[in-house]
Protein backbone atom coordinates (compact mmCIF):
# COMPACT_ATOMS: atom_id res chain seq x y z
CA UNK A 1 0.00 0.00 0.00
CA UNK A 2 1.34 3.44 -0.98
CA UNK A 3 1.72 5.95 1.82
CA UNK A 4 -0.76 8.82 1.77
CA UNK A 5 0.58 10.42 4.96
CA UNK A 6 4.05 10.04 6.49
CA UNK A 7 4.74 11.70 9.81
CA UNK A 8 8.08 11.63 11.61
CA UNK A 9 8.77 13.10 15.04
CA UNK A 10 6.12 15.75 14.57
CA UNK A 11 6.11 18.13 17.51
CA UNK A 12 4.17 21.24 18.45
CA UNK A 13 4.96 23.40 21.42
CA UNK A 14 2.94 26.42 22.57
CA UNK A 15 5.24 28.15 25.03
CA UNK A 16 5.63 25.75 27.94
CA UNK A 17 2.91 23.42 26.71
CA UNK A 18 3.93 20.46 24.59
CA UNK A 19 0.74 19.87 22.60
CA UNK A 20 2.16 17.17 20.29
CA UNK A 21 5.21 15.25 21.39
CA UNK A 22 7.37 13.64 18.67
CA UNK A 23 4.69 11.53 17.02
CA UNK A 24 5.40 9.27 14.04
CA UNK A 25 2.98 7.27 11.93
CA UNK A 26 2.05 6.37 8.35
CA UNK A 27 -1.37 6.23 6.73
CA UNK A 28 -1.84 4.09 3.64
CA UNK A 29 -3.79 5.19 0.56
CA UNK A 30 -7.48 4.34 0.84
CA UNK A 31 -7.20 3.70 4.56
CA UNK A 32 -9.53 5.12 7.21
CA UNK A 33 -7.15 6.08 9.97
CA UNK A 34 -8.44 7.26 13.33
CA UNK A 35 -6.79 9.47 15.91
CA UNK A 36 -8.42 8.55 19.18
CA UNK A 37 -7.88 10.39 22.40
CA UNK A 38 -9.46 12.60 25.05
CA UNK A 39 -9.88 16.33 24.56
CA UNK A 40 -6.54 18.07 24.82
CA UNK A 41 -4.63 15.00 23.63
CA UNK A 42 -3.28 16.86 20.57
CA UNK A 43 -5.59 15.48 17.86
CA UNK A 44 -6.73 18.81 16.45
CA UNK A 45 -3.21 20.28 16.67
CA UNK A 46 -1.94 17.34 14.60
CA UNK A 47 -4.60 17.93 11.93
CA UNK A 48 -3.79 21.65 11.92
CA UNK A 49 -0.11 20.90 11.32
CA UNK A 50 -0.89 18.41 8.55
CA UNK A 51 -3.22 20.85 6.78
CA UNK A 52 -1.04 23.95 7.04
CA UNK A 53 -3.08 25.81 9.67
CA UNK A 54 -0.12 25.85 12.01
CA UNK A 55 3.56 25.10 11.69
CA UNK A 56 5.28 22.23 13.48
CA UNK A 57 7.89 23.12 16.09
CA UNK A 58 9.92 20.10 14.98
CA UNK A 59 9.63 16.99 12.83
CA UNK A 60 8.43 16.38 9.29
CA UNK A 61 5.21 15.44 7.58
CA UNK A 62 4.62 14.44 3.97
CA UNK A 63 1.21 14.25 2.35
CA UNK A 64 1.07 12.26 -0.91
CA UNK A 65 4.85 12.66 -1.05
CA UNK A 66 4.73 16.46 -0.67
CA UNK A 67 6.40 18.25 2.22
CA UNK A 68 3.97 20.08 4.52
CA UNK A 69 6.58 22.74 5.35
CA UNK A 70 7.42 23.76 1.78
CA UNK A 71 4.63 22.51 -0.52
CA UNK A 72 1.50 23.27 1.44
CA UNK A 73 -0.39 25.03 -1.37
CA UNK A 74 0.08 21.98 -3.64
CA UNK A 75 -1.01 19.75 -0.76
CA UNK A 76 -4.17 21.81 -0.24
CA UNK A 77 -5.21 21.08 -3.82
CA UNK A 78 -5.21 17.38 -2.99
CA UNK A 79 -6.75 17.33 0.47
CA UNK A 80 -10.14 18.18 1.90
CA UNK A 81 -10.47 19.39 5.47
CA UNK A 82 -13.53 19.37 7.67
CA UNK A 83 -12.75 21.33 10.84
CA UNK A 84 -14.39 20.57 14.16
CA UNK A 85 -16.48 23.74 13.85
CA UNK A 86 -18.91 24.00 10.94
CA UNK A 87 -17.45 27.28 9.75
CA UNK A 88 -19.22 28.14 6.52
CA UNK A 89 -20.94 31.47 5.84
CA UNK A 90 -24.27 32.03 7.58
CA UNK A 91 -25.16 34.77 5.10
CA UNK A 92 -24.79 32.54 2.03
CA UNK A 93 -27.15 29.78 0.91
CA UNK A 94 -26.04 26.15 0.92
CA UNK A 95 -25.58 26.33 -2.85
CA UNK A 96 -23.64 29.61 -2.73
CA UNK A 97 -21.35 28.27 -0.01
CA UNK A 98 -20.47 25.31 -2.22
CA UNK A 99 -20.16 27.53 -5.29
CA UNK A 100 -17.72 29.80 -3.43
CA UNK A 101 -15.61 26.76 -2.60
CA UNK A 102 -15.56 25.65 -6.25
CA UNK A 103 -14.26 29.13 -7.09
CA UNK A 104 -11.58 29.07 -4.40
CA UNK A 105 -10.42 25.61 -5.47
CA UNK A 106 -10.26 26.58 -9.14
CA UNK A 107 -12.81 24.06 -10.40
CA UNK A 108 -13.52 24.87 -14.08
CA UNK A 109 -16.44 27.27 -14.46
CA UNK A 110 -18.43 24.78 -16.57
CA UNK A 111 -18.35 22.16 -13.81
CA UNK A 112 -19.03 24.33 -10.76
CA UNK A 113 -22.82 24.26 -10.59
CA UNK A 114 -23.03 20.56 -11.39
CA UNK A 115 -20.44 19.70 -8.73
CA UNK A 116 -22.26 21.76 -6.09
CA UNK A 117 -25.62 20.23 -6.99
CA UNK A 118 -24.23 16.69 -6.96
CA UNK A 119 -22.90 17.14 -3.45
CA UNK A 120 -26.15 18.72 -2.25
CA UNK A 121 -27.98 15.65 -3.54
CA UNK A 122 -25.46 13.24 -2.01
CA UNK A 123 -25.86 14.87 1.37
CA UNK A 124 -29.64 15.14 1.14
CA UNK A 125 -29.62 18.95 1.12
CA UNK A 126 -30.75 19.65 -2.43
CA UNK A 127 -34.26 20.67 -1.35
CA UNK A 128 -32.70 23.27 0.98
CA UNK A 129 -30.08 24.50 -1.48
CA UNK A 130 -31.35 28.08 -1.51
CA UNK A 131 -31.72 28.34 2.25
CA UNK A 132 -29.14 30.31 4.20
CA UNK A 133 -26.50 28.25 6.02
CA UNK A 134 -27.34 30.19 9.20
CA UNK A 135 -30.85 28.70 9.21
CA UNK A 136 -29.64 25.09 9.11
CA UNK A 137 -29.78 22.62 11.99
CA UNK A 138 -26.51 21.43 13.51
CA UNK A 139 -26.65 18.16 11.57
CA UNK A 140 -27.33 19.92 8.26
CA UNK A 141 -24.51 22.37 8.91
CA UNK A 142 -22.15 19.47 9.59
CA UNK A 143 -23.26 17.69 6.43
CA UNK A 144 -22.71 20.80 4.30
CA UNK A 145 -19.31 21.41 5.90
CA UNK A 146 -18.30 17.86 4.97
CA UNK A 147 -19.66 18.42 1.46
CA UNK A 148 -17.40 21.47 1.07
CA UNK A 149 -14.44 19.31 2.11
CA UNK A 150 -15.22 17.05 -0.85
CA UNK A 151 -15.91 19.81 -3.39
CA UNK A 152 -12.64 19.29 -5.28
CA UNK A 153 -12.67 15.47 -5.06
CA UNK A 154 -9.69 15.29 -2.70
CA UNK A 155 -7.49 12.23 -2.40
CA UNK A 156 -7.34 12.62 1.39
CA UNK A 157 -10.09 13.88 3.66
CA UNK A 158 -9.24 15.17 7.13
CA UNK A 159 -12.19 15.05 9.49
CA UNK A 160 -11.83 16.64 12.90
CA UNK A 161 -14.43 15.20 15.29
CA UNK A 162 -16.94 14.70 12.49
CA UNK A 163 -19.94 13.70 14.60
CA UNK A 164 -19.55 16.06 17.58
CA UNK A 165 -22.90 17.59 18.41
CA UNK A 166 -24.88 15.46 15.97
CA UNK A 167 -27.95 13.49 17.01
CA UNK A 168 -27.84 9.71 16.77
CA UNK A 169 -29.48 9.48 13.35
CA UNK A 170 -27.34 12.23 11.80
CA UNK A 171 -24.20 10.65 13.25
CA UNK A 172 -25.16 7.25 11.82
CA UNK A 173 -25.82 8.76 8.38
CA UNK A 174 -22.48 10.50 8.50
CA UNK A 175 -20.68 7.30 9.36
CA UNK A 176 -22.39 5.72 6.35
CA UNK A 177 -21.05 8.53 4.15
CA UNK A 178 -17.54 8.10 5.52
CA UNK A 179 -17.80 4.36 4.81
CA UNK A 180 -18.75 5.19 1.20
CA UNK A 181 -15.63 7.32 0.82
CA UNK A 182 -13.56 4.23 1.48
CA UNK A 183 -15.26 2.53 -1.48
CA UNK A 184 -14.27 5.50 -3.64
CA UNK A 185 -10.63 5.09 -2.60
CA UNK A 186 -10.45 8.30 -0.56
CA UNK A 187 -8.02 8.17 2.34
CA UNK A 188 -9.71 9.40 5.51
CA UNK A 189 -7.86 10.75 8.53
CA UNK A 190 -10.29 11.36 11.34
CA UNK A 191 -10.01 12.41 14.92
CA UNK A 192 -12.56 11.37 17.46
CA UNK A 193 -13.02 10.91 21.15
CA UNK A 194 -15.91 8.49 20.56
CA UNK A 195 -14.57 4.99 21.01
CA UNK A 196 -17.46 3.28 19.22
CA UNK A 197 -17.05 5.62 16.27
CA UNK A 198 -13.39 4.73 15.91
CA UNK A 199 -14.27 1.05 16.26
CA UNK A 200 -16.98 1.21 13.60
CA UNK A 201 -15.14 3.29 11.01
CA UNK A 202 -11.41 2.89 11.22
CA UNK A 203 -9.06 0.40 9.58
CA UNK A 204 -6.39 1.44 12.08
CA UNK A 205 -6.41 3.57 15.17
CA UNK A 206 -3.69 5.60 16.86
CA UNK A 207 -4.38 6.23 20.53
CA UNK A 208 -3.11 9.64 21.54
CA UNK A 209 -2.67 10.69 25.15
CA UNK A 210 -1.05 13.95 26.26
CA UNK A 211 0.45 14.58 22.84
CA UNK A 212 2.00 11.10 22.48
CA UNK A 213 0.91 8.10 20.46
CA UNK A 214 0.69 5.24 22.92
CA UNK A 215 -0.50 2.56 20.48
CA UNK A 216 -1.31 2.13 16.78
CA UNK A 217 -3.17 -0.92 15.54
CA UNK A 218 -6.38 -2.25 14.01
CA UNK A 219 -9.45 -2.13 16.29
CA UNK A 220 -9.43 -5.95 16.42
CA UNK A 221 -5.79 -6.14 17.48
CA UNK A 222 -6.32 -3.41 20.07
CA UNK A 223 -9.18 -5.43 21.54
CA UNK A 224 -6.99 -8.51 21.90
CA UNK A 225 -4.89 -6.49 24.33
CA UNK A 226 -7.90 -6.36 26.61
CA UNK A 227 -8.80 -10.01 26.04
CA UNK A 228 -5.75 -11.05 28.02
CA UNK A 229 -7.61 -10.24 31.21
CA UNK A 230 -11.17 -11.28 32.07
CA UNK A 231 -13.75 -8.59 32.69
CA UNK A 232 -16.80 -8.65 34.90
CA UNK A 233 -19.49 -6.02 34.43
CA UNK A 234 -21.84 -5.34 37.31
CA UNK A 235 -25.03 -3.32 36.76
CA UNK A 236 -26.56 -1.69 39.81
CA UNK A 237 -30.14 -0.66 40.29
CA UNK A 238 -28.86 2.76 41.25
CA UNK A 239 -25.29 3.98 40.97
CA UNK A 240 -23.74 5.46 44.09
CA UNK A 241 -20.63 7.61 43.78
CA UNK A 242 -18.78 5.59 46.43
CA UNK A 243 -19.20 2.22 44.68
CA UNK A 244 -16.03 2.46 42.58
CA UNK A 245 -14.01 3.58 45.58
CA UNK A 246 -15.52 0.92 47.85
CA UNK A 247 -14.90 -1.92 45.44
CA UNK A 248 -11.39 -0.68 44.62
CA UNK A 249 -10.53 -0.79 48.32
CA UNK A 250 -11.81 -4.35 48.65
CA UNK A 251 -10.23 -5.54 45.38
CA UNK A 252 -6.86 -3.76 45.32
CA UNK A 253 -5.33 -6.18 42.83
CA UNK A 254 -8.03 -5.43 40.21
CA UNK A 255 -9.01 -2.31 38.30
CA UNK A 256 -12.55 -1.04 38.96
CA UNK A 257 -13.88 1.50 36.46
CA UNK A 258 -17.31 3.17 36.23
CA UNK A 259 -18.96 2.66 32.85
CA UNK A 260 -22.20 4.33 31.77
CA UNK A 261 -24.61 5.59 34.38
CA UNK A 262 -25.06 2.46 36.54
CA UNK A 263 -22.29 0.00 35.77
CA UNK A 264 -18.80 -0.83 36.89
CA UNK A 265 -16.30 -3.06 35.18
CA UNK A 266 -13.75 -5.06 37.10
CA UNK A 267 -10.72 -5.86 34.98
CA UNK A 268 -8.83 -9.08 35.54
CA UNK A 269 -11.61 -10.16 37.83
CA UNK A 270 -13.41 -13.27 36.55
CA UNK A 271 -13.06 -15.24 39.71
CA UNK A 272 -15.28 -16.49 42.51
CA UNK A 273 -13.38 -14.22 44.92
CA UNK A 274 -14.34 -11.12 42.94
CA UNK A 275 -17.99 -12.13 42.68
CA UNK A 276 -18.14 -12.90 46.36
CA UNK A 277 -16.61 -9.53 47.28
CA UNK A 278 -19.00 -7.61 45.03
CA UNK A 279 -22.03 -9.39 46.43
CA UNK A 280 -20.85 -8.86 50.01
CA UNK A 281 -20.17 -5.17 49.36
CA UNK A 282 -23.60 -4.65 47.78
CA UNK A 283 -25.37 -6.47 50.58
CA UNK A 284 -23.48 -4.59 53.28
CA UNK A 285 -24.31 -1.21 51.72
CA UNK A 286 -27.93 -1.90 50.73
CA UNK A 287 -27.09 -1.60 47.03
CA UNK A 288 -29.23 -3.61 44.62
CA UNK A 289 -27.47 -5.49 41.84
CA UNK A 290 -29.38 -5.80 38.56
CA UNK A 291 -27.02 -7.95 36.54
CA UNK A 292 -23.56 -9.50 36.59
CA UNK A 293 -21.95 -10.40 33.26
CA UNK A 294 -18.67 -11.70 32.01
CA UNK A 295 -18.12 -9.56 28.93
CA UNK A 296 -16.24 -9.65 25.63
CA UNK A 297 -13.69 -6.82 25.58
CA UNK A 298 -14.60 -3.77 23.53
CA UNK A 299 -12.38 -1.03 22.18
CA UNK A 300 -13.29 0.89 25.30
CA UNK A 301 -11.78 -1.88 27.43
CA UNK A 302 -8.68 -1.86 25.26
CA UNK A 303 -8.47 1.92 25.62
CA UNK A 304 -8.73 1.64 29.40
CA UNK A 305 -6.06 -1.03 29.53
CA UNK A 306 -3.68 0.77 27.16
CA UNK A 307 -4.03 4.28 28.53
CA UNK A 308 -5.03 3.66 32.13
CA UNK A 309 -7.63 6.41 31.65
CA UNK A 310 -11.28 6.20 32.62
CA UNK A 311 -13.70 6.31 29.67
CA UNK A 312 -15.34 9.29 31.37
CA UNK A 313 -12.45 11.48 30.16
CA UNK A 314 -13.55 10.65 26.62
CA UNK A 315 -17.13 11.67 27.34
CA UNK A 316 -16.13 15.26 28.08
CA UNK A 317 -17.25 17.38 25.15
CA UNK A 318 -15.47 20.46 23.84
CA UNK A 319 -18.67 22.05 22.67
CA UNK A 320 -22.04 20.88 23.93
CA UNK A 321 -23.25 17.49 24.90
CA UNK A 322 -23.68 14.61 22.62
Amino acid sequence: MEKAIEVRDLTKRYGEILAVDHISFDVGEGEIFGFLGPNGAGKTTTIRMLTGLCRPTAGTARILGLDVASEIVEIKKRIGVVPEVSNLYDELSAFDNLLFMTQLYGIPRSQRRARAEDLLKTFGLYERKDHLFGTFSRGMKRALTIATGLIHSPKILFLDEPTVGLDVVAARNLRGLIGNLRKQGVTVFLTTHYLEEADLLCDRIAILVKGKIVKIDTPEMLKTVAEEEPIIEVSFKKMHPQIVEGLSERLPQFRVVAVGHNKVRIYGGASAEVLETVLEYAKGNDILIEEVNSIKPSLEDAFIKITGLSPSVMATEKGGGR
Binding site: G52, R55, V81, L104
Partner: protein, 243 residues
Protein backbone atom coordinates in the same frame (compact mmCIF):
# COMPACT_ATOMS: atom_id res chain seq x y z
CA UNK B 1 0.62 29.59 -8.07
CA UNK B 2 0.14 33.31 -8.73
CA UNK B 3 -2.92 32.41 -10.80
CA UNK B 4 -4.36 30.53 -7.83
CA UNK B 5 -3.66 33.58 -5.65
CA UNK B 6 -5.24 36.03 -8.09
CA UNK B 7 -8.32 33.84 -8.36
CA UNK B 8 -8.47 33.62 -4.55
CA UNK B 9 -8.14 37.40 -4.11
CA UNK B 10 -10.92 38.02 -6.62
CA UNK B 11 -13.43 35.55 -5.18
CA UNK B 12 -12.71 36.44 -1.54
CA UNK B 13 -13.32 40.12 -2.30
CA UNK B 14 -16.49 39.24 -4.24
CA UNK B 15 -17.78 37.04 -1.44
CA UNK B 16 -17.04 39.73 1.16
CA UNK B 17 -19.03 42.26 -0.86
CA UNK B 18 -22.05 39.96 -0.86
CA UNK B 19 -21.68 38.84 2.71
CA UNK B 20 -20.58 41.78 4.80
CA UNK B 21 -21.29 45.14 3.20
CA UNK B 22 -24.71 45.42 4.79
CA UNK B 23 -23.63 44.32 8.27
CA UNK B 24 -24.53 46.89 10.96
CA UNK B 25 -20.89 47.85 11.81
CA UNK B 26 -20.16 48.52 8.12
CA UNK B 27 -23.21 50.75 7.87
CA UNK B 28 -22.73 52.61 11.16
CA UNK B 29 -18.97 53.28 10.96
CA UNK B 30 -18.51 53.14 7.20
CA UNK B 31 -21.60 54.98 5.93
CA UNK B 32 -23.57 56.73 8.68
CA UNK B 33 -20.58 58.19 10.52
CA UNK B 34 -18.92 59.95 7.54
CA UNK B 35 -22.29 61.22 6.29
CA UNK B 36 -23.14 62.57 9.75
CA UNK B 37 -19.81 64.45 9.85
CA UNK B 38 -20.34 65.89 6.38
CA UNK B 39 -23.84 67.08 7.30
CA UNK B 40 -22.57 68.56 10.57
CA UNK B 41 -19.91 70.60 8.78
CA UNK B 42 -22.32 71.66 6.06
CA UNK B 43 -24.97 72.87 8.51
CA UNK B 44 -22.38 74.73 10.56
CA UNK B 45 -20.90 76.66 7.65
CA UNK B 46 -22.60 76.12 4.26
CA UNK B 47 -20.81 79.08 2.66
CA UNK B 48 -17.27 77.73 3.03
CA UNK B 49 -18.21 74.09 2.70
CA UNK B 50 -16.34 73.83 -0.64
CA UNK B 51 -13.02 74.17 1.20
CA UNK B 52 -13.88 71.26 3.43
CA UNK B 53 -14.73 68.84 0.60
CA UNK B 54 -11.20 67.35 0.17
CA UNK B 55 -10.94 66.70 3.92
CA UNK B 56 -14.36 65.14 4.09
CA UNK B 57 -13.64 62.86 1.13
CA UNK B 58 -10.40 61.85 2.86
CA UNK B 59 -12.34 61.11 6.04
CA UNK B 60 -14.84 59.04 4.08
CA UNK B 61 -11.97 57.00 2.63
CA UNK B 62 -10.54 56.47 6.12
CA UNK B 63 -13.75 55.45 7.87
CA UNK B 64 -15.30 53.36 5.10
CA UNK B 65 -12.23 51.19 4.46
CA UNK B 66 -11.27 50.64 8.10
CA UNK B 67 -14.88 49.89 9.09
CA UNK B 68 -15.17 47.36 6.27
CA UNK B 69 -11.88 45.68 7.25
CA UNK B 70 -13.09 45.21 10.82
CA UNK B 71 -16.16 43.44 9.48
CA UNK B 72 -14.57 41.29 6.75
CA UNK B 73 -11.70 40.17 8.97
CA UNK B 74 -13.07 40.02 12.50
CA UNK B 75 -16.42 38.39 11.71
CA UNK B 76 -14.45 35.57 10.13
CA UNK B 77 -11.79 35.36 12.82
CA UNK B 78 -14.53 35.08 15.43
CA UNK B 79 -16.59 32.46 13.60
CA UNK B 80 -13.59 30.47 12.38
CA UNK B 81 -14.44 30.97 8.72
CA UNK B 82 -11.13 32.77 8.19
CA UNK B 83 -9.49 29.37 8.61
CA UNK B 84 -11.79 28.06 5.91
CA UNK B 85 -10.06 30.46 3.49
CA UNK B 86 -6.62 29.39 4.70
CA UNK B 87 -7.49 25.77 3.90
CA UNK B 88 -7.96 26.66 0.21
CA UNK B 89 -4.98 26.28 -2.14
CA UNK B 90 -4.00 29.94 -2.00
CA UNK B 91 -1.28 31.65 -0.01
CA UNK B 92 -1.90 33.51 3.24
CA UNK B 93 -0.87 36.90 1.76
CA UNK B 94 -3.44 36.32 -1.01
CA UNK B 95 -6.17 35.70 1.56
CA UNK B 96 -5.25 38.95 3.33
CA UNK B 97 -5.06 40.87 0.05
CA UNK B 98 -8.52 39.54 -0.82
CA UNK B 99 -9.73 41.04 2.46
CA UNK B 100 -7.94 44.35 1.76
CA UNK B 101 -9.48 44.52 -1.71
CA UNK B 102 -12.89 43.76 -0.16
CA UNK B 103 -12.47 46.81 2.10
CA UNK B 104 -11.12 48.89 -0.77
CA UNK B 105 -14.17 48.22 -2.95
CA UNK B 106 -16.48 49.22 -0.10
CA UNK B 107 -14.41 52.40 0.20
CA UNK B 108 -14.67 53.05 -3.54
CA UNK B 109 -18.46 52.84 -3.39
CA UNK B 110 -18.66 55.26 -0.45
CA UNK B 111 -15.97 57.65 -1.71
CA UNK B 112 -17.40 57.75 -5.23
CA UNK B 113 -20.82 58.59 -3.81
CA UNK B 114 -19.48 61.41 -1.60
CA UNK B 115 -17.16 62.78 -4.31
CA UNK B 116 -19.78 62.71 -7.05
CA UNK B 117 -22.37 64.18 -4.71
CA UNK B 118 -20.02 67.03 -3.74
CA UNK B 119 -18.99 67.77 -7.33
CA UNK B 120 -22.56 67.84 -8.59
CA UNK B 121 -24.10 69.64 -5.61
CA UNK B 122 -21.43 72.33 -5.42
CA UNK B 123 -20.62 72.55 -9.12
CA UNK B 124 -16.93 71.68 -8.63
CA UNK B 125 -16.45 70.72 -12.28
CA UNK B 126 -12.85 71.93 -12.42
CA UNK B 127 -11.73 68.92 -10.38
CA UNK B 128 -8.93 66.84 -11.91
CA UNK B 129 -10.21 63.26 -12.35
CA UNK B 130 -6.64 62.01 -12.91
CA UNK B 131 -5.49 63.52 -9.62
CA UNK B 132 -8.53 62.14 -7.83
CA UNK B 133 -7.69 58.63 -9.07
CA UNK B 134 -3.99 59.07 -8.24
CA UNK B 135 -4.86 59.95 -4.64
CA UNK B 136 -8.05 58.02 -3.91
CA UNK B 137 -6.93 54.57 -5.14
CA UNK B 138 -3.67 54.39 -3.14
CA UNK B 139 -5.42 55.97 -0.14
CA UNK B 140 -8.10 53.27 -0.18
CA UNK B 141 -5.36 50.61 -0.23
CA UNK B 142 -3.44 52.37 2.58
CA UNK B 143 -6.40 52.59 4.96
CA UNK B 144 -7.68 49.11 4.10
CA UNK B 145 -4.25 47.70 4.93
CA UNK B 146 -4.06 49.83 8.10
CA UNK B 147 -7.46 48.37 9.03
CA UNK B 148 -6.22 44.85 8.25
CA UNK B 149 -3.08 45.39 10.33
CA UNK B 150 -5.03 46.43 13.43
CA UNK B 151 -7.90 43.98 12.90
CA UNK B 152 -5.69 40.87 12.86
CA UNK B 153 -4.52 41.85 16.36
CA UNK B 154 -7.96 41.26 17.89
CA UNK B 155 -10.85 38.84 17.47
CA UNK B 156 -14.13 40.72 17.92
CA UNK B 157 -15.55 43.37 15.58
CA UNK B 158 -16.22 45.80 18.45
CA UNK B 159 -12.61 45.40 19.67
CA UNK B 160 -11.36 46.18 16.18
CA UNK B 161 -13.60 49.27 15.84
CA UNK B 162 -12.40 50.53 19.23
CA UNK B 163 -8.75 49.96 18.35
CA UNK B 164 -9.23 51.65 14.98
CA UNK B 165 -10.69 54.77 16.57
CA UNK B 166 -7.31 55.80 17.95
CA UNK B 167 -5.58 56.33 14.57
CA UNK B 168 -8.85 57.45 12.98
CA UNK B 169 -9.45 60.38 15.32
CA UNK B 170 -5.79 61.30 15.59
CA UNK B 171 -5.65 61.59 11.81
CA UNK B 172 -8.97 63.40 11.49
CA UNK B 173 -7.74 66.14 13.84
CA UNK B 174 -4.08 66.29 12.79
CA UNK B 175 -4.05 65.59 9.06
CA UNK B 176 -5.71 68.72 7.75
CA UNK B 177 -9.25 67.38 7.43
CA UNK B 178 -10.68 70.28 9.43
CA UNK B 179 -7.74 72.60 10.19
CA UNK B 180 -5.02 73.12 7.57
CA UNK B 181 -1.72 71.50 8.58
CA UNK B 182 0.11 74.76 7.83
CA UNK B 183 -1.83 76.57 10.56
CA UNK B 184 -0.94 74.01 13.24
CA UNK B 185 2.02 74.38 15.68
CA UNK B 186 5.32 73.20 14.20
CA UNK B 187 5.55 70.09 16.41
CA UNK B 188 2.09 68.98 15.31
CA UNK B 189 3.03 69.62 11.70
CA UNK B 190 5.86 67.08 12.07
CA UNK B 191 3.40 64.64 13.58
CA UNK B 192 0.95 65.31 10.73
CA UNK B 193 3.53 64.34 8.12
CA UNK B 194 3.90 60.95 9.78
CA UNK B 195 0.25 60.25 9.04
CA UNK B 196 -0.95 58.93 5.68
CA UNK B 197 -4.21 60.91 5.77
CA UNK B 198 -2.17 64.14 5.51
CA UNK B 199 -1.02 63.09 2.02
CA UNK B 200 -4.55 62.08 1.06
CA UNK B 201 -5.93 65.48 2.09
CA UNK B 202 -3.05 67.32 0.42
CA UNK B 203 -3.50 65.40 -2.82
CA UNK B 204 -7.26 65.88 -2.82
CA UNK B 205 -6.86 69.63 -2.19
CA UNK B 206 -4.67 69.79 -5.28
CA UNK B 207 -7.24 67.82 -7.28
CA UNK B 208 -9.93 70.36 -6.34
CA UNK B 209 -7.63 73.39 -6.66
CA UNK B 210 -7.36 75.52 -9.76
CA UNK B 211 -3.56 75.38 -9.50
CA UNK B 212 -2.53 71.76 -9.82
CA UNK B 213 1.15 71.07 -9.19
CA UNK B 214 3.28 67.98 -9.50
CA UNK B 215 3.48 67.39 -5.73
CA UNK B 216 0.40 65.20 -6.09
CA UNK B 217 2.70 62.51 -7.51
CA UNK B 218 4.82 62.71 -4.37
CA UNK B 219 1.65 62.24 -2.32
CA UNK B 220 0.84 59.15 -4.40
CA UNK B 221 4.32 57.71 -3.89
CA UNK B 222 4.24 58.38 -0.15
CA UNK B 223 0.81 56.74 0.06
CA UNK B 224 2.09 53.66 -1.79
CA UNK B 225 4.94 53.57 0.72
CA UNK B 226 2.43 53.58 3.58
CA UNK B 227 0.53 50.75 1.88
CA UNK B 228 3.67 48.60 1.92
CA UNK B 229 4.44 49.73 5.46
CA UNK B 230 1.04 48.48 6.67
CA UNK B 231 0.45 45.40 4.54
CA UNK B 232 3.78 43.67 5.25
CA UNK B 233 3.43 43.61 9.05
CA UNK B 234 -0.25 42.65 8.64
CA UNK B 235 0.83 39.56 6.68
CA UNK B 236 3.52 38.85 9.26
CA UNK B 237 1.07 39.15 12.15
CA UNK B 238 -1.35 36.83 10.40
CA UNK B 239 1.42 34.28 9.84
CA UNK B 240 2.23 34.52 13.53
CA UNK B 241 -1.42 34.08 14.47
CA UNK B 242 -1.51 30.82 12.53
CA UNK B 243 2.01 29.70 13.41
Amino acid sequence: MWRDDLRGIFYIALKDMRTYYLKPPSISWGIVFPIAWILAFYLRNPQNFEQLVPGLIAMTILFSTTAAEAVVINFELRLGSFERLLLAPISLPAVLLGKVIGGTIFGILMTATVTLGSVLALGLYHVSVLYLVLIIVPSLLVFSSLGALLCVLVKEVFEAQTLLNLPRFLMVFLSGVVYPVSSMPTVLQYVAYLMPLTYTVDGLRQAFSSIQGITVFIDTLVLLGFFILFILPAVRLLYRRFA
